[in-house]
C-alpha cells in the first residue's frame, strides 16, 4: 500500500471521528470558590507558579507572585485540593466546598527534587507519574529560576546533569550548542530534538548571513548562527523536560538518539478573574577581558591586549525588554496570552537584536472526557550584525591583527571602514499546535497533536558601492524557510489485571507519529553596482543564484505495555517501528525496542521509613539518527561552468544506508532523606551506537571527493550523572537551598568497520580506541626548554567534548521573600582548537602569545633565548595550524541574582510585584594554557558543529539586568 504523502491525514480523520462523537457538554451542579496562599516551608516566603487544583477535575489555578490563588466553580461538597510545584513535594488537603461560598485552603510546600507523583510527558506513551518511569528525566521549572530570563539556552545552563550548553560568541543573535551526554553521532546533528507543547520544532541552527558561492566569499558576514530554540520567550515557559539518551527516547524513534527537550508553555488556569503580569528588564551587555593584559592602557586611542586590541570598537550594549501576559479562564476555558519586546544591543558597533513575541494558548474542556488545547506563538527577530569572525572584511579580524591586517594599518578610522558593511537578518517563526484529549471511559485516553513549525528567514548581506574591499559593491539576499508538520497520536488503555488479587495494573499504549520536514533555500547574489544608492539584487552588473530544497518524511508507530504491581513496581516494554525517506532503497521499516523497570522500594514495609524515599530504576532502549536526504544515492552536482551546464561528481551513494542505532542501558535511583530536605539522583548509563554513520573518505583518485556516509562504525559512551539538592538549613529568617549537578561522560570509538581514521574538522579525529572525537595535532614536548622544539605529530590530546560538568545553584531565601541566589558551572576535560592565534602567527602578526619571548616585540629574529614553544609558534616558518590545541576547561559564574518582593504599601493598584538584579557570566576562569579567548566559544562553523573551534570572534558578553515585575 502506498499512502499518499501525508501519513497524518489518516490520523486526523481517525481522531475527528472520535472527537465529533464525543462532543457533548457535561451538566453543571452547585459550585463554590476555593482560595488561599501557598508558602515555602521554613522561610514561609510566598511561592509563585504553584499549580493548585481540585483533584479529579480539571479545575485549577496557578499562584501569583504573592502566593495567592483562587479556584472558582469548584463542585460543592467534599473535595480534595492539591498543590503541585516542581521541586517540591505535592500536598493534598481535604475540604468541604460550600455552594456559593468561599473555602480557604493554605499550603506550605517543602522543597524536594523527588516528587514521585509528579506527572511527566516526555518519553512516555502519553503521560506517566515519575514513580512509573524507569529512566531518568530532568525538569526545569522556569518560575523557580531566580535570574532575569534572557533565552532558553541560558535557562538550562548548569541545571541539568549531563547537559552541556555552551554560548557561541559575542555577536548579536548567536545561539548556543546543546549536547546531552556528549556526542551521539559523528556525521549527523547532535542537537537534541525539541518539542514545544507536543509540536516538533527545528532544533538545528538557522543559516548564517553570508554570500552565496564558494571559497572565501562565504566568510563575508558576521559568521554566527541563530538558534530557533531562542525564539521562544522564556517567560512563557512553564517547565522544560529533558530526556538524554536512547533508553528514554525510544518512542521518538529514528531521530531521537541525541535526546529530546520538551518545552511546556503556560496555559492559564480556571480563574474567573484575569491575572495580568507586566515585566520590564533593563540592563546592559559588557565584554569581559579575553586577551592578555600587556600593561598597555585600554582607551579609545591605544592598544589593549586585554581585549586583543578590539576595545576601540567595543561598547556597553543596552538591553531592555517589555513583557506582558494575561491568564485566567473559567471552568471550561483557560487561556494564556502574552506579548513582549526585547531589544538586545550587542557590544560590537552595529550589533542589535530586536525580538517581538506573541503567544496565545487556549484550553477548552467541554466535558470531563474531552479537552481541546490550542497553542500558537509568533516571533519576529530582527538582527543587525557587525562583520566579524574569520572574515577579511570583519572588524574583529582586522582589529586583532593590527598593522598586519588587510589594511596594513591599526588606525581606528582605517579599520572602521568595514563598518559600512550592512548585515541584516529577519526571522519570522510561528509554532501552531492543536491537541485533543479524549477519554471516552476513565480507562481509555486518546491524544492527538497536530502541529506546524514554520520559520522564514531573510538574510541580507550588503557591501555598498564604494565598500573598502569591493569597490563596486555586492549584495546577497537569501530567502530560506523551514516547515515541520507534526502529527502525533497516542492511545492508552488502563485496567487491572485480575489474577488472584495480585494488584497488577496494566497500561497498554499505542501510537503513531509523522514528521515531514521541508526546507527551501533561495539565494541571489550580485556584484557591480553602477553607483551609490540603496541597491537591490537587480542593481548589479552580474548575478548568481543558488537554490536548495530538501524534504524528509519520517513516520512510525509504537506499542507499549506497562505493568504495575501494587503501585510500586513497574515493568515497561515497547517497540517502535520507523520509516524514513532518507533510508536506502534496500532498507525497510526499522525497529527500536525498549524495556524498563521502576521499583519504589521505600514503599515496602521492610524499608526503614526514617531513611526516606527511594526509587530504583533501570532502562534499556534503542533510538536512531537518520541520514540526510541525499546520502543514500549516487549523485552528481549540476555546477555550471560560466554560462554552460556542467556536472561534477558528488556522492558515491549507498543503497543499503540506514539509521545509526544507539542502544542505551541506564541504571540509577532517586532518593530523598532527612525528612525530604535532601534529594539525590544517581544515573549510570552506557550507550553503544551500532551501524554508526561515518563519513568514510573516498579515494581521491577514484574521482569522488566527498565522504560517503556508511553504517560501518561502532561507538560507545558511558557516564555517571548525579544531582543533589536540598535545604542546608531551614529557619524562618533564612533558608539556604543548595543544588549540585555532576556529570562524567567518556566516549570511545570501538570500530571503524575497516575504514581508515578520519578527521571530522577542527582536528577532531575518529580513531579506533580513542574518544569521539579525539583532538589530535602537534605537541611540543619540550615546550619550556630553551631549545629547538621537539615536536610529536598526530599526538592525541583528548576528547573534543567536555567529560566533566559540574553545576552549582545556591539560594538564600530570607523572610519577606527576599532571595539571593547564584549559579555556577564548570565544564572540562576536553580540548579545543584556538585557530585565531594560528591565523595571526602564520602571517607573522605580532601576537600576544609571543609577547613574552625576548626581543619579539622589537622585531628581533634572535631566537636563542626563546623557549621551544616560542620558537614553534612565534616564528612563522615553524608555526602549524595543529599546534594550538588547548585544554578547554572553564568555570563561569552564570548568574548572581538578588530578588525581592515589592512591599504592598508601595504597590499602587498592583496585586503583587518584585524587583531583581542579575549579573550574568561576569566571572570566568580557564586553564592557563588557554591564554586567549573563551573556551566556550565557537568559530565560523557555528555552535552546531560536531567539533568546535575558535576563530576571530569575541566571547559572549556578560549581562547585567534589573527586572521589575508587577501582577494585577
Amino acid at each position: 500500500m502506498s499512502w499518499p504523502r501525508q501519513p497524518a491525514r489518516l490520523l486526523v480523520s481517525f481522531l475527528t471521528v472520535i472527537v465529533v462523537s464525543a462532543a457533548a457538554a457535561a451538566a453543571q451542579g452547585p459550585t463554590g470558590t476555593v482560595n488561599g496562599t501557598v508558602r515555602r516551608a521554613g522561610s514561609e516566603a510566598p511561592l509563585a507558579g504553584v499549580q493548585v487544583s481540585i483533584v479529579g477535575t480539571r479545575l485549577g489555578s496557578v499562584t501569583k507572585d504573592d502566593g495567592s490563588y483562587a479556584i472558582n466553580g469548584a463542585p460543592a461538597g467534599a473535595q480534595r485540593v492539591e498543590a503541585r510545584l516542581i521541586g517540591s513535594a505535592p500536598k493534598i488537603t481535604s475540604v468541604t466546598v460550600i455552594a456559593g461560598g468561599t473555602t480557604r485552603v493554605d499550603f506550605s510546600l517543602t522543597a524536594t527534587a523527588l516528587t514521585l507523583e509528579e506527572v511527566v510527558v516526555t518519553g512516555t506513551a502519553g503521560q506517566a507519574r515519575r514513580r512509573e518511569i524507569g529512566n531518568s528525566i530532568s525538569a526545569v521549572k522556569a518560575d523557580a529560576t531566580p535570574e532575569a530570563q534572557t533565552n532558553v539556552s541560558a535557562l538550562l545552563q548548569g541545571r541539568v546533569a549531563g547537559a552541556s550548553v555552551q554560548l557561541s560568541g559575542g555577536s548579536a543573535g548567536a545561539g548556543a550548542s546543546i549536547r546531552l551526554r556528549g556526542i551521539s553521532s559523528v556525521a549527523l546533528s547532535n542537537q537534541p530534538l525539541v518539542y514545544i507543547d507536543g509540536v516538533r520544532v527545528r532544533s538545528d541552527e538557522y543559516p548564517k548571513n553570508m554570500p552565496a558561492g564558494g571559497a572565501s566569499p562565504n566568510l563575508r558576514g558576521p559568521n554566527v548562527y541563530a538558534s530557533p530554540l531562542n525564539d521562544i520567550d522564556p517567560n512563557d515557559i512553564e517547565r522544560i523536560e529533558i530526556i538524554k539518551g536512547a533508553a528514554a527516547t525510544t518512542l521518538y524513534g529514528t531521530e531521537a538518539a541525541a535526546g529530546v527537550i520538551q518545552i511546556f508553555t503556560k496555559k492559564g488556569a480556571g480563574d474567573t478573574r484575569a491575572t495580568w503580569n507586566f515585566q520590564t528588564n533593563q540592563g546592559f551587555n559588557r565584554e569581559r577581558p579575553f586577551g592578555i593584559d600587556d600593561g598597555s592602557p585600554c582607551s579609545k586611542t591605544s592598544e589593549c591586549g586585554k581585549y586583543l586590541f578590539v576595545n576601540p570598537w567595543l561598547r556597553d550594549g543596552q538591553r531592555q525588554a517589555y513583557l506582558g501576559s494575561v491568564s485566567g479562564g473559567v471552568s471550561t476555558i483557560h487561556y494564556f496570552v502574552s506579548g513582549g519586546f526585547d531589544d538586545n544591543k550587542g557590544v560590537l558597533p552595529h550589533d542589535d537584536e530586536q525580538k517581538f513575541n506573541v503567544r496565545g494558548n487556549f484550553t477548552f474542556q467541554p466535558t470531563q472526557k474531552l479537552t481541546f488545547e490550542w497553542t500558537s506563538a509568533y516571533e519576529r527577530d530582527s538582527i543587525t550584525n557587525t562583520p566579524a569572525g574569520n572574515n577579511a572584511a570583519g572588524i574583529t579580524l582586522n582589529a586583532f591583527r593590527r598593522n598586519r591586517n588587510y589594511f596594513g594599518s591599526s588606525n581606528i578610522d582605517t579599520i572602521s571602514q568595514v563598518l559600512t558593511y550592512q548585515l541584516n537578518t529577519w526571522i519570522n517563526h510561528s509554532v501552531l499546535g492543536s491537541t485533543i484529549n479524549y477519554a471516552p471511559v476513565p480507562s481509555v485516553t486518546n491524544r492527538l497533536t497536530v502541529g506546524l513549525d514554520r520559520s522564514e528567514l531573510e538574510n541580507r548581506n550588503l557591501r555598498p558601492f564604494g565598500f573598502v574591499s569591493l569597490k563596486q559593491g555586492g549584495l546577497n539576499d537569501q530567502h530560506w524557510s523551514s516547515q515541520m508538520l507534526t502529527a502525533n497520536y497516542v492511545g492508552n488503555f488502563e485496567h487491572d489485571v485480575s489474577v488472584a488479587g495480585t494488584g497488577v495494573h496494566s497500561t497498554f499504549a499505542w501510537g503513531a507519529q509523522s514528521t515531514t520536514t521541508d526546507v527551501r533555500d533561495l539565494q541571489s547574489y550580485t556584484e557591480g553596482f553602477p553607483g551609490p544608492g540603496i541597491p537591490t539584487v537587480s542593481s548589479g552588473s552580474q548575478w548568481n543564484g543558488v537554490e536548495n530544497r530538501t524534504r524528509v518524511v519520517t513516520a512510525g508507530f509504537f506499542f507499549q505495555e506497562m505493568l504495575g504491581w501494587r503501585d510500586r513496581l513497574f515493568l515497561t516494554a515497547g517497540v517502535r517501528f520507523d520509516g524514513n525517506s532518507a533510508f536506502g532503497k534496500n532498507l525497510g521499516l526499522q525497529q527500536y525496542p525498549k524495556v524498563s523497570a521502576s521499583y519504589v522500594i521505600s514503599d515496602e514495609d521492610f524499608f526503614p521509613k526514617q531513611l526516606g524515599t527511594l526509587k530504583l530504576r533501570a532502562a534499556f532502549g534503542e533510538a536512531g539518527r537518520a541520514p540526510g536526504a541525499f546520502d543514500a544515492i549516487r549523485t552528481y552536482l549540476p555546477v555550471g561552468w560560466g554560462g554552460a551546464a556542467a556536472f561534477r561528481t558528488n556522492t558515491v551513494g549507498n543503497p543499503d544506508l540506514g539509521p545509526e542505532r544507539s542502544r542505551e542501558t541506564e541504571l540509577g535511583f532517586d532518593a530523598s532523606t532527612l525528612n525530604e530536605r535532601a534529594t539525590f539522583e544517581l544515573t549510570y548509563y552506557s550507550t553503544r551506537t551500532v551501524d554508526a554513520l561515518l563519513p568514510v573518505r573516498q579515494i581521491p583518485s577514484d574521482g569522488f571527493l566527498a565522504s560517503q556516509l556508511e553504517n560501518v562504525g561502532t561507538l560507545q559512551k558511558s557516564g555517571l550523572e548525579m544531582q543533589l539538592a536540598g535545604d542546608v538549613f531551614r529557619s524562618r529568617p533564612v533558608t539556604w537551598n543548595l543544588g549540585i549537578t555532576t556529570a562524567f561522560n567518556h566516549s570511545k570509538t570501538l570500530s571503524l568497520g575497516g575504514a581508515p581514521k578520519f578527521q571530522i574538522g577542527n582536528f577532531g579525529w575518529i580513531v579506533e580506541g580513542e574518544p569521539v572525537a579525539d583532538i589530535r595535532g602537534r605537541k611540543v614536548t619540550n615546550a619550556n626548554d630553551i631549545a629547538d622544539p621537539q615536536i610529536v605529530q598526530d599526538y592525541s590530546f583528548g576528547p573534543s567534548q567536555p567529560t566533566k560538568i559540574f553545576g552549582l545553584t545556591s539560594a538564600f531565601r530570607f523572610a519577606r521573600g527576599i532571595e539571593l541566589s547564584a549559579r555556577a558551572e564548570y565544564q572540562g576535560g576536553n580540548y579545543l582548537d584556538e585557530d585565531a592565534s594560528y591565523q595571526a602567527l602564520s602571517r607573522a602578526v605580532q601576537w600576544p602569545l609571543c609577547f613574552g619571548a625576548p626581543g619579539y616585540t622589537s622585531g628581533s629574529t634572535d631566537e636563542s633565548k626563546w623557549t621551544a614553544w616560542e620558537r614553534a609558534i612565534c616564528d612563522s616558518k615553524n608555526v602549524r595550524s595543529d599546534m594550538f590545541l588547548f585544554p578547554a576547561d572553564f568555570f563561569k559564574l552564570r548568574d548572581v541574582t538578588i530578588r525581592a518582593p515589592i512591599p504592598q504599601r508601595l504597590l499602587t493598584g498592583a496585586h503583587a510585584g518584585s524587583v531583581s538584579l542579575s549579573v550574568e557570566n561576569w566571572y570566568r576562569w580557564q586553564r592557563k594554557e588557554f591564554r586567549l579567548f573563551d573556551p566556550e566559544m565557537a568559530g565560523n562553523d557555528g555552535f552546531n558543529s560536531t567539533v568546535r573551534y575558535i576563530s576571530e570572534h569575541i566571547p559572549a558578553p556578560a549581562t547585567v539586568l534589573a527586572q521589575l515585575r508587577l501582577t494585577f
Binding site: 598586519r404 544515492i633 602571517r843
Partner: protein, 422 residues
C-alpha cells in the same frame, strides 16, 4: 470501542505503508548522465574541474617556484607558511591532488561513457568525445608535471610519467576524433599538448614533430568566469586587493626584468595607496606589493598551449643537439615580435640560461615551471637559474630542500588501501 480499534489499526497500517519515496531536487542521479543530451554537461564538468585544478596548482606552484613572492595571506586565497619557503608537504597537498584527480577521472570516465553510449562511427567524429579527451589529457599533463608520483583509480603508486603517458595517448585520440569532426582548434590544441608531454617524456623527435605543426599565434586557454568566486582566476583574485594582496612580483626575477624591458608578458604595477602586502611574511615583515598584470581580471584565461611554447620546444631540442645559434633564433623569435631586445648567448651554457629564462617568461604562472625545474634538474642541464629561484639562496628565501613536485597527500595515502598497506 469498535470504531476506535478499527481506526487505530488503519493508522498503523497507514504508517507502515507510508510513501517514503521522496525525490528531492538538486543533485542528479547517475542514471541521468546516460541521456545523450547530458553529454555537453559531462564535458563541461570535466573542463570546469580541470580549470579548478589548474587554478590551484598554477598559483601555489608559482609561489614555490618563485615566479611570485608571498606577500601575506596564508589562508584560502594565500600561500601557506610552508609553501612560502618552497615546501610542499603531504598535509597541504590534498587540494591540488584531489582536484587534479577528480578532473582526470571525470574526463576519462566521460570519454568511456561516450564510447559505450555512442555508435563507433559517431564516437569517432564526436566533438564532445574529442573535447572530453582533451580535458583528460590536459588533466594528466597537469598531474604529471606537478606530482611526484602517480596513482590511477585507487591503484598502487606508480611513476609520475604514467600520467604523462596517459596524456600522450589521450592527446592522440583527441587529435584523431577532432580532426574527423572537423574541429581544427581542438585538434591543434591536442597536438600542441602532446608536444609538451613528449618533452616531459623525453620523446624529442615526437615533440618537435608535433610542435612544428602549430603556428606561432596559436593559443589554447583554460577559461575562467566571473560567475562566482570559485570560477575566478585564482592568481588574479588573490592579488586583486579585494581584500587580498597575497603575493607580489617583488623579490622575483620578474621585478627587475620588467622594469628593464617592459616585456608585456610579465607586467606588474605598484599602488601607492597599498604599498605592502596584506600581512607579514617570513622574517621580512610587510613586503612591497607589486601586482602582476598578466592576469588582470577575474576571467583571465590561463594558457594550456601556445605556438610560442612550441618554438621554445624546438629551441630546446636544437640546444640539446648543440645548435646554439638555431636555438637562440627560436628563443628570441617571440621577443623580437614583441619589440624586445634579443637574448645573446656566447656559449651553450649561456644559451641554456637564456632558454630557461625565456621559458619562465613565456609560461609565467601557467603551472609549468615546477615541471621544468624538475626536468632540468633530473637531466642536469647546463645554464643557471636566477638568484631569486635558487633553493637555499639568500635572495630566494627558499628552503634548501625546496620541493619541485607535490607529494601524494594524506587524503590519498590514508584512504587508498594500495598505499596505506605500505
Amino acid at each position: 470501542m469498535t470504531i476506535r480499534r478499527i481506526a487505530a489499526a488503519c493508522a498503523l497500517i497507514g504508517v507502515a505503508g507510508c510513501n517514503f519515496d521522496v525525490t528531492n531536487p538538486g543533485p542528479v542521479q547517475e542514471k541521468f548522465l546516460d541521456d545523450p543530451n547530458a553529454q555537453t554537461a559531462i564535458v563541461n564538468g570535466a573542463g570546469r574541474d580541470l580549470s579548478d585544478a589548474l587554478n590551484w596548482t598554477a598559483y601555489t606552484s608559482a609561489a614555490v617556484a618563485r615566479e611570485i613572492f608571498p606577500a601575506g595571506s596564508t589562508g584560502s586565497f594565500g600561500i601557506s607558511s610552508q609553501q612560502q619557503i618552497g615546501r610542499l608537504i603531504p598535509e597541504e597537498t590534498d587540494s591540488y591532488w584531489d582536484r587534479g584527480q577528480r578532473a582526470r577521472w571525470e574526463a576519462e570516465t566521460g570519454a568511456a561513457r561516450f564510447k559505450t553510449d555512442l555508435p563507433p562511427a559517431d564516437y569517432a567524429k564526436s566533438k564532445n568525445a574529442a573535447q572530453v579527451l582533451l580535458w583528460a589529457a590536459y588533466a594528466n599533463r597537469l598531474l604529471g608535471e606537478s606530482m611526484c608520483d602517480a596513482v590511477i583509480d585507487g591503484g598502487p603508486r606508480q611513476a609520475y610519467t604514467v600520467f604523462l603517458q596517459r596524456a600522450d595517448s589521450e592527446f592522440t585520440s583527441a587529435m584523431a576524433i577532432a580532426a574527423a569532426a572537423g574541429d581544427t582548434k581542438t585538434a591543434q590544441a591536442a597536438q600542441a599538448g602532446r608536444a609538451s608531454v613528449r618533452v616531459d617524456l623525453g620523446n624529442w623527435t615526437g615533440a618537435v614533430s608535433d610542435a612544428g605543426a602549430i603556428p606561432d599565434a596559436f593559443t589554447y586557454q583554460m577559461p575562467y568566469y566571473t560567475t562566482d568566486a570559485d570560477q575566478y582566476n585564482r592568481i588574479y583574485w588573490a592579488d586583486a586587493n579585494s581584500p587580498y594582496r597575497a603575493h607580489t612580483t617583488w623579490n622575483t626575477f620578474y621585478q627587475q626584468y620588467y622594469l628593464d624591458t617592459k616585456d608585456p608578458r610579465v607586467a606588474w604595477v605598484s599602488d601607492p595607496k597599498n604599498p605592502v602586502g596584506d600581512a607579514a611574511v617570513l622574517q621580512l615583515g610587510r613586503v612591497p606589493w607589486y601586482a602582476e598584470m598578466k592576469y588582470n581580471k577575474k576571467d583571465a584565461g590561463i594558457n594550456l598551449s601556445s605556438g610560442w611554447e612550441m618554438r621554445l620546444i624546438e629551441a630546446e631540442s636544437k640546444l640539446k643537439g648543440g645548435d646554439v645559434a638555431g636555438a637562440m633564433a627560436l628563443v628570441n623569435k617571440h621577443r623580437l615580435s614583441l619589440g624586445l631586445t634579443a637574448w645573446t648567448a656566447a656559449t651553450t651554457t649561456d644559451a641554456w640560461t637564456m632558454l630557461k629564462r625565456e621559458r619562465g617568461i613565456e609560461l609565467w604562472m601557467e603551472a609549468r615551471r615546477l615541471g621544468d625545474l624538475r626536468r632540468w634538474k633530473a637531466a642536469n642541464t647546463p645554464g643557471v637559474l636566477s638568484d631569486f629561484e635558487i633553493a637555499g639562496g639568500a635572495k630566494s628565501y627558499l628552503d634548501a630542500a625546496q620541493d619541485l613536485c607535490y607529494p601524494i597527500p594524506l587524503s590519498e595515502t590514508q584512504t587508498n588501501p594500495n598505499l596505506s598497506k605500505g
